[in-house]
Amino acid sequence: MAIARTCDHLYVPETPSGADAAPVSPAAPRLERRAGGRLVGGVCRGLAEHLGLEPIVVRLAFAVLISAGVGVVAYVALWLLVPQHAEPEARRDRGQLFAYGALVGGLSLFSWGAGALNWAVWPVVAGGIGVGIIWQQADPERRQRWVRNTQAMWLRSIIGALLVIGGLIAFLAQKVHPGQAGQVLLGSTVVLAGFAVVVAPWLLRMWRDLDVERRERIRSQERAEVAAHVHDSVLHTLTLIQRNAQDPREVQRLARAQERDLRAWLYQPKADAEQDLAAAVRKISAEVEDHHGVPIEVVCVGDCPLDDRLGAMLQAAREAMVNAAKYAETSSLSVYAEVVGDEVAIFVRDRGKGFDLDGVPEDRMGVRQSIIGRMERNGGKVTIRTAPGDGTEVRLEMTRDRK
């Protein structure tokens, strides 16, 4: 995992990001479409950065060109040919998008004027939109996405195809004499069929290659992750164990720590020890186990998000574990955390030597302050059951706040 992370860092700083970086660097940034701060395809923004202009200048120019007609072709061509800058996509600014849309619409109406009333224009517009939808999917980044979401891809392709076909039919219906319709249809069908026969195998192969490549990539990523993990942790631990072979306690500690780590990685759902109680209990137990060399068996039932009061409860539980590990002279500890409804309970138990609870001097801070005091300040309850020679169980209970 560490390897993958390092690689990411290597790639990121190559291209200066952010508009303010452009004037500083002597060479103009490469022409790339920008996913962040884009309105449609990121073409204008990328172009503006490349040319050292404000995006609004380029956008206005394109609005005018698109209204005149030629801009559409130029924009689509740039969209297809210019690679996308590797960065997270930002949300489009819908306000700006609407403003430019209205501008283009208004200009179009002005420049085409009566032309808009000519019905021959609309089939072309419909066909154009259809082609746009289909071609948009040829964008390499988008293709990655629609390979994953095939349903949406089919839907979009069908809508695009319908628009194109509808546009063509409308165009033909207007321009072709009804008597010739049959011949024109036959001719077009023959041409299309020939085209399909030529292109289909190639398309099919490309599709399969893409699929194979995708699977291969996922597999190799998984392999790399496993290898990195095994290398980072397991091999290091084995090396350490060999080096510490004379110290059985240290060897046991290392083996336990590694076992715990590997188990968590293999079997446990990824959880955030900063946010969830069960994960936090596991983490604290691991720390105490590591530090004091006493194996701790942790069982968690239920889970809930952490808050400040539960944080205090965890600190108290930790103190109880440390006490048991240090003074109970036991070979193992049991920790059981349970969330049932709003009731949270943590039990820390050992089969060690136990102690006389009444005999604990007032000044011994561990039990009185760190466990009982902390729990009571936060509205919790502590029950300690112990007797000399009979082990100890510290039971922490708290009712959780519902937000």
């Binding site: 188990r263 293999l266 079997y267 446990q268 759902p269 990824k270 068996e297 069982v299 968690c300 039932v301 239920g302 500890l333 049991s334 059981y336 349970e338 049932v340 039990f347 138990r349 089969r351 169980e393």
Partner: protein, 220 residues
């Protein structure tokens, strides 16, 4: 003496267990994969099979299916003539594995980190027809049966009684059966009855949430 068959695909681990068990049980056979295990168990008719969960050829569940499949699931009342009982032994902590093998018919589940004397005790308990629950298995069962608000199809098997819940919680807290008996003012035999009854519910419950729950915990 309890006659035991050891099923594990790691030769090293098998020798380790044999050494740890020493003379406390009689090891009558060993096997390293599913086919071998089925053969050895049929040939030797042991009291207890120590069964690894992950085995080449389909895993411990497959061994259970093929050995007990014809006879159906054991009710575990201990009254029927000598029968082979299974104790699952694994390094895996995954709920899917634990619940899976117990639902497959194993009478208990212990992890491979268990000490020799403890393993001997667990084998003895299983041989007598009782169930062996590790704290972790108890935690899993409590978690799996926690969703009490789910409408159950068969209340007899789909819910735990208050007492069974208490027993399981104490197991999860690290109490031994003797300590549980003392805590709840009941006899050790009663504790064993409760645990066996939980085991039966775990095996016979139709709530498919149980399997789904176990599988979902595997998702990362």
């Amino acid at each position: 003496m309890t006659r035991v068959v050891l099923v594990d695909d790691h030769q090293m681990f098998r020798s380790g267990v044999k050494a740890e068990l020493g003379d406390s049980v009689e090891i009558v056979g060993e096997a390293g994969d599913v086919d071998e295990a089925v053969e050895v168990i049929k040939a030797t008719q042991p009291d207890v099979v120590l069964l690894d969960v992950h085995l080449p050829g389909g895993g411990g569940v497959e061994v259970l299916r093929r050995v007990t499949g014809a006879a159906g699931r054991r009710s575990g009342d201990g009254a029927s003539p000598p029968e082979t009982r299974f104790l699952a032994l694994s390094v895996s902590d995954a709920a899917e594995d634990v619940i899976g093998v117990v639902r497959g018919g194993a009478r208990g589940y212990v992890t491979k980190t268990i000490s020799g004397p403890e393993l001997t005790r667990a084998i003895g308990r299983v041989a007598e027809g009782d169930a062996v629950f590790s704290p972790r298995l108890a935690g899993f069962v409590l978690d799996a049966f926690a969703a009490a608000d789910v409408p159950s199809i068969d209340p007899e098997f789909d819910q735990l009684t208050q007492r069974e819940r208490e027993v399981l919680r104490l197991i999860a807290r690290g109490y031994a059966y003797k300590e549980i008996a003392k805590e709840l003012f009941i006899s050790v035999k009663t504790v064993e009855t409760h645990v066996s009854s939980v085991l039966r519910k775990l095996q016979l419950s139709n709530r498919h949430e149980l399997s789904r729950w176990a599988a979902a915990r595997r998702l990362v």
